[in-house]
């Protein structure tokens, strides 16, 4: 049992070590510059100027009719979804446009298009889509279906009126409303996603690199012969890194997310900080684990990629859990980052509260405790 005095000693020593770690990080100028860069410029780059939607998709219209009707139909393919590029003269030129990627869509309006429409016949319009990007291929196709559907509704109504059966044709207009990000501002998503990703990367890399560097230089032996227990060595390290990462988070939120991208922080910021602190602290266990496996920085770098890449792809940021096969979904359930993403977006963008996030947070804490415990146990076995 420890007396009160001992506790104070331990605390004092701990704080001194935190100070030492912070000082050490501070003196690593390359690292500090890098941290500054990623938590500002990198997040800005990831969020700005990028768009996943069908935006300025190039469309070349091969109008073989050159009539009023054909031009009218073609004119409905408008920005922001589409942008017109020079029309090809013949099918070979059209194929060339698609092959070279100069145009994503070629629409061919047949000769006699207007005549057919006027005579009440059906006219077929060819719509060739470069689907080498499957998502955009789908969107280019479905936007066209919508545009032509609307056109048909108007034309059809006129035809029906001509037959004397009334000038109306019913149709369904499906308006879409996107929750949480009504204007589908990609910068919000990319900015937050990049921030959460960076937090994860540093939560693993910083402790891993710090521990391995001490290992490489042999300074870890110095610490071990000191009257400190492994936990007393590790806790200050992890605490210092948590502080540094939270400082980065502050920078990113204040300067980039709020300052530039105008992300509406809908939930409580203190809650987000608490969640992030818990996450960084517990995830650092994975970094310590890596440090016990690797012998030098090169190895730890490669190992970190091996661990981080799957975590990122199983975080649910890019692929929703329901689209994954069951075994992969199981893997996802044990990735702490998955829960951090849920909670991070939940607080920042959806305005969820602690009570609503209880489930993912509990899972995150549990997995994190496991990771930290495992890291500590291996560290202890290796050194103490």
């Amino acid at each position: 049992m420890m007396s009160r005095m001992d506790w104070r000693d331990v605390l004092g020593r701990g704080l001194e070590l935190v100070r030492k770690e912070l000082l050490q990080l501070w003196r690593d100028r390359v690292l500090i510059l890098f941290l500054l860069y990623v938590f500002t410029v990198d997040i800005y780059l990831a969020g700005s100027g990028l768009s996943f939607s069908l935006h300025n998709a190039t469309i070349a219209v091969m109008d073989q009719d050159m009539s009023h009707a054909s031009r009218e139909l073609a004119s409905r393919f408008q920005p922001p979804e589409f942008q017109r590029v020079a029309a090809p003269g013949d099918p070979r030129a059209a194929q060339q446009l698609l092959d070279t990627g100069r145009s994503m869509v070629v629409m061919q309006i047949p000769p006699r298009f207007q005549a057919d429409l006027g005579a009440g016949r059906q006219a077929a319009v060819q719509y060739l889509v470069d689907s080498s990007n499957s998502v955009l291929g789908l969107l280019a196709g479905s936007h066209a279906a919508e545009i032509v559907g609307r056109y048909n509704l108007e034309q059809g109504a006129a035809r029906l009126a001509a037959t004397g059966a009334g000038g109306r044709l019913p149709g369904v207009d499906n308006a879409q409303r996107a929750l949480f990000n009504a204007n589908q501002n990609e910068a919000w998503f990319m900015g937050i996603a990049e921030l959460l990703m960076l937090v994860t990367v540093f939560a693993i890399i910083l402790p891993a690199v710090a521990a391995v560097r001490e290992k490489e230089r042999g300074t870890i032996e110095q610490l071990l012969v000191s009257p400190l227990r492994p936990l007393e060595i590790l806790l200050p390290k992890v605490l210092a890194m948590t502080l540094v990462i939270l400082a980065g988070v502050t920078l990113a939120i204040a300067l980039v997310l709020r300052g530039v991208f105008d992300v509406p922080i809908r939930g409580s910021l203190p809650l987000f900080y608490a969640i992030s602190a818990l996450y960084v602290f517990t995830t650092s266990g994975i970094g310590l684990l890596l440090a016990t496996i690797a012998r030098n920085l090169a190895q730890v770098g490669m190992l970190a990629i091996m661990v981080l890449a799957p975590m990122m792809f199983l975080s649910g940021m890019w692929t929703p859990p329901e689209a994954l096969a069951t075994p992969v979904r199981v893997l996802m359930a044990v990735s702490p980052m998955h829960y951090y993403i849920d909670a991070g977006f939940g607080v920042l963008l959806k305005g969820m509260t602690l009570a609503e996030l209880a489930q993912p947070l509990l899972a995150m804490a549990l997995l994190g405790a496991l990771a930290f415990g495992a890291g500590l146990a291996r560290f202890r076995r290796q050194f103490a």
Binding site: G120, A123, L169, G301, M302, A309, T319
Partner: protein, 384 residues
């Protein structure tokens, strides 16, 4: 420059790599693991979307319309909600991602030949997912709406099938998805993954290999030896180029046979362009390793200059036309974009020399430039 001496340096480097078993294993395993993860984990196919319906109308017409959505493979029908009140909460908790809201009077209005407006609420948190859902909704709605119009025209005129189609659907849009007919996202992704992984892995290996020598001080042996600058750099580069080419072959085989992406182009052209690209990315590593002094800094700089450009400014996920002008400018300055076009062209589009020779030229120029930069920046008498 004597080739023999360069080869001796290369052999020494190779032996060093071979003896660091973990490093060698990681060299060969990391790219493959990344490919598997991205390939399986980064599916952008959004399927089984948790979906519910709020049907205020509850008539055969509204149920029929809703079934177009719930019967499709994209949506996973989770049930009906009594009203809109719970939507936000359920979507926030990831229990639902799309909710169709049908207003009262839906059936009545359609029966009277009036157009109606329904609403689909979608989870806008993740823009890629939201866009894909939007595409599905547009396409399904266009189809359902055309069916309703046809039905109305039939009832109104009693005309036969052919004239009905002409009446309600004057323009038939014949969409053909070229290059990736089934719109499989893994087909789109696989060639681009080769590009991304070959952008990231070779520089990593190279910097770690070269800077390690600087950090451990063994580079002074080189400084003091008769080995010339060019011989040293060439010798250093060769093992990493060879390893990366081997990795490229593995990645190609995975893309082709595991993910089943079709390869329609000229294998020789693709091999040549890949080799050129690998020399480029290894060269990036070389230039960085000449400039920095520590392994940590090297990894950090590599991460900055490769990861974001490869993923975001290469046209891999977002087409160049959709980038902002500044971002598009950046894209044109980097080799990733040119090789991405080669990869997609060779795999999906089946184009080769005639279309893509300028890309090969750019890659070759880039490689030459990097080698020259490495040569000029490397000094056997560094300022310390």
């Amino acid at each position: 420059m004597k080739l023999v001496r360069a080869m001796v340096v290369a052999r020494k480097e190779w032996q060093e790599i071979r003896r660091d078993r973990l490093f060698l294993a990681l060299c060969l395993v990391v790219p493959v693991v990344l490919m598997l993860l991205f390939g399986y984990g980064l599916s952008l196919d959004v399927e089984n979307i948790p979906f519910a319906v709020v049907d205020h109308d509850d008539t055969p017409a509204s149920r029929d319309y809703a079934s177009h959505f719930s019967d499709s493979r994209y949506f996973d029908f989770r049930g009906r909600l009594a009203d809109e009140g719970a939507i936000d909460r359920l979507v926030a908790a990831n229990a639902l991602r799309a909710v169709l809201v049908i207003p009262p009077g839906f059936g009545r209005d359609l029966a009277a030949g009036r157009s109606v407006r329904v609403q689909t609420v979608i989870d806008g948190t993740f823009p890629v997912r939201a866009m894909t859902m939007r595409g599905y909704v547009l396409a399904i709605n266009a189809q359902a709406s055309t069916g309703i119009a046809l039905e109305w025209a039939r009832a109104a005129t009693g005309a036969d099938e052919r004239s009905l189609a002409a009446l309600a659907q004057p323009v038939r849009l014949e969409t053909r998805n070229l290059y990736n007919q089934p719109l499989r996202s893994v087909w789109s992704m696989a060639p681009k993954l080769i590009m991304v992984i070959l952008m990231i892995a070779p520089p990593f290996l190279t910097v770690l290999g070269v800077v390690r020598e600087k950090e451990s001080g063994s580079i002074f042996n080189i400084y003091a030896s008769t080995v010339s600058k060019a011989e040293f750099l060439l010798g250093k580069l060769v093992p990493y180029v060879v390893i990366s080419l081997f990795n490229a072959l593995l990645l190609f085989l995975l893309a082709r046979y595991l993910f089943g992406a079709p390869f329609k182009g000229d294998p020789l052209f693709f091999a040549l362009a890949t080799a050129m690209y690998v020399v480029c990315t290894t060269g990036i590593g070389l230039v960085i390793s000449v400039l920095v002094r520590t392994q940590t800094a090297a990894m950090v700089v590599v991460a900055i200059v490769t990861v974001v450009p490869a993923a975001l400014y290469s046209g891999a996920i977002i087409p160049i036309e959709s980038l902002s002008p500044a971002a598009a400018g950046v894209a044109h300055l980097l080799p990733a974009m040119y090789y991405a076009q080669v990869a997609t062209g060779s795999f999906l589009k089946g184009v080769g020399w005639p279309v893509l020779w300028p890309n090969l030229l750019v890659l070759a120029g880039y490689a030459a430039l990097l080698m020259a930069a490495g040569y000029l920046l490397f000094s056997k008498r560094p300022r310390t």
